[in-house]
Amino acid sequence: MMAVATLERDAELMLRVREGDTESFALLLERHRSPVIHFLFRMVQNQSVAEELAQEVFLRVYRSRANYEPTAKFTTWLFRIASHLALNWIRDRRHERGQESLDQETADGMVRQVSDRGMSKEQAMVRESKFEEIRRAIQGLPEKQKAAVLMHKYEEMEYSQIAAVLECSESAVKSLLFRAYETLRARLAHMA
């Protein structure tokens, strides 16, 4: 176990949660709520499912508080739970729906509408179109590559952390990322 003096802030908070401090849990939730939900949204492409899975992530953290030991970085643990839940959800859904196409997903309203945020109608349409192209390009990646890109690009996680989340080596993560970005470069070349 790490020395308490060198513990990261999240681990300190989690140890307090273990002792029954609910305010520390609220702080952890405040720090990680958005990154976890955003990661899950980009993984499953559905906001309500992402929030439901995120609830499960934090419930598991809360449920495990009594046995918590700061043996790994807190965010690694958090994203490992999140990515397992997302990958399981994707696998189950694919199994249920028999590998339906992305077009079908769009038709089913699985994609959120891009909010206008004060843009003109034209700007909103351009933005929505770009969003949709990127969504499709990312969605088309193999699941592990997708998870790696989302953690690398949007959560700014280190290679070692991504490797710990995906339970593979750092060199495997680099390879996954390089292949993923090559695919994205090919698919989104016209946007560059």
């Binding site: 939900i37 495990s64 959120r112 909010s115 969003f131 990127i134 290679y159 390089f178 970005y181 946007m191």
Partner: protein, 182 residues
């Protein structure tokens, strides 16, 4: 930000080896993600000044990196925390045994390979209970029975009858020969 994991061994001197030719493509990714420190960044830029392949790749990757920014996420629902705390309270109310069983159940639910094994194990357990209650375990196989060939028996009986007839015939012949002599 990102761990560059790119050591000075890749740069034995001020002239770096080509990342694309030495399997260090992550250096270019880090460059586009602005995760390289000043020294490494300047060394890579010096290399790219005469390596068209790296220059082109870095340019394309930087553009894609920027394009991916458009994939933003939705704001989180206002009642997310309220729902979560309600579920946490509910969880605190469940019996102690359920708290221990729930993670096991979740694990098993996420392991499809276990499902058939569990089904077989459950079926075996039910069968064992049924046998134990009824007292009739599986019946032992009957002892092997010696099979006698019926044709062999009939043939033997016919042979004995033939011998007996022959013996009676010989006996009768001997008596008539004695009478002739007398």
């Amino acid at each position: 930000m990102q761990n560059t994991s790119f050591h000075n061994t890749n740069f034995p001197d001020s002239r770096m080896t080509c990342p694309l030719q030495t399997g260090n493509e992550d250096v270019l990714l880090d460059y586009c993600a602005r995760a390289l420190d000043a020294e490494r960044k300047s060394m890579l830029e010096a290399h790219m000044a005469h390596c068209e392949q790296c220059r082109e790749m870095a340019k394309a990757q930087t553009e894609i990196w920027a394009a991916l920014d458009a994939y933003d996420a939705e704001p989180v629902s206002a009642d997310f925390d309220r729902k979560l705390y309600a579920r946490m309270e509910e969880m605190d109310r469940v019996p102690a045994w359920e708290k221990y069983w729930a993670p096991v159940r979740e694990y098993l639910q996420g392991q499809p390979a276990w499902k058939p094994v569990l089904s077989v194990a459950a079926a075996s357990a039910v069968l064992m209970v049924v046998f134990a209650v009824s007292g009739d375990g599986p019946q032992p196989l009957p002892a092997p029975v010696a099979l006698i060939d019926v044709q062999d028996v009939e043939q033997a009986e016919r042979a004995l009858e033939d011998i007996e007839m022959l013996r009676q015939f010989e006996s009768a012949s001997a008596e008539s020969a004695q009478k002739d002599v007398l």
